[in-house]
Symmetry: C2
Subunit: 145 residues, 2 copies
C-alpha cells in the first residue's frame, strides 16, 4: 500500500485512491479461486487491527482454513455463502459474520454474483492452518446443501 | 449489545439482528446533534479493536473532539463532510477517512441526507478531549467553506 492519506476516495467500483489491488495469497500457497485483497487500513500508528476488503468473483471462494485470530466481517457487495464451523449461511449486503478462534471457515461467491466483504483482523496474528486433504470434504459439506 | 451470533443479518435499513441502537454519547456530556451508535463487533475474544456504525441524521454532526487513539472510517450510507485537522472534505459512499492521534475531527451529515459510517477503534482507548469554548469557531472554520 502507498502512503495512507487522511481521506481516500472510493472510485465507484470498489477500488480506492492509493489502495493497491493485491493477490489474495501467494499463488500455490493454499487452495482458493478468484479472490482479490485490498488493505484499506494498515493497522499501524495506533490501531492494533487491519481492515481489508476481499472480493470473490462469481463462482470463486477463499481458502478453507482456521487460525487462532478472529475475523469480524461485513458484506458490502453482492452475495454468496459462508461456512463457519459446522454450518453454512447465505450472506448478502451488510450481513455480519464473526469467525471465532480455531474455527474452519470459507467464503464463497454466488455463481452469478461477486461477494465483497470487509474483514477486520488483529495486526499481529497467527498463520492459517489448512485441513488435511482427507478432511476437506467433511468440513465443507454444509456448503453443499 | 446482546450475545454476538456467528452470522447477524442486516435488516435492510442499517439495523442488524442482535445489535442495539444506542445513544451516541450520554446526553449533555459533549455537544453533538442527531447521532446514533451501533456496536457491530465488540472487540473482545481475540480482536483488539471495535467496529461501530454511526449514523448522523440530515443536518446533524458528531462531537468536535480529539484523542490519542486513531479512527479508521468508511462511509457506508449517504453523504456529508468531515473535518480532520485543519481541512474539511466532502465524503460519500465508501470513502475512507483516517483520523491520526490528537487531531481535531468532526463528521457532519448533508442538510438533505444522512451520513452513516463504520468506525474502527482500539478496544482500549483514551477519552476524547473537547476544545475550549473560545477555540471552537477557529477549529471548525474549514467546515464552513
Amino acid at each position: 500500500m502507498k502512503d495512507e492519506g487522511l481521506v481516500r476516495r472510493h472510485s465507484g467500483d470498489f477500488h480506492w485512491e492509493d489502495v493497491d489491488v493485491l493477490a489474495y495469497k501467494q499463488e500455490g500457497s493454499a487452495p482458493f479461486k478468484d479472490v482479490t485483497r485490498q488493505v484499506l487500513f494498515e493497522g499501524t500508528g495506533g490501531v492494533p487491527a487491519q481492515l481489508r476488503y476481499f472480493e470473490v468473483a462469481p463462482g470463486g471462494h477463499t481458502t478453507l482454513e482456521r487460525h487462532e485470530h478472529v475475523h469480524a466481517v461485513m458484506v458490502i457487495r453482492g452475495h454468496g455463502q459462508c461456512l463457519v464451523g459446522d454450518k453454512a449461511w447465505d450472506i448478502a449486503m451488510h450481513d455480519l459474520v464473526r469467525v471465532p478462534p480455531m474455527t474452519w471457515h470459507q467464503f464463497r461467491a454466488a455463481s452469478d454474483d461477486v461477494l465483497g466483504f470487509l474483514c477486520m483482523v488483529p495486526s499481529e496474528r497467527d498463520r492459517p492452518q489448512l485441513p488435511a486433504e482427507g478432511e476437506i470434504a467433511a468440513i465443507s459439506r454444509p456448503l453443499q446443501k
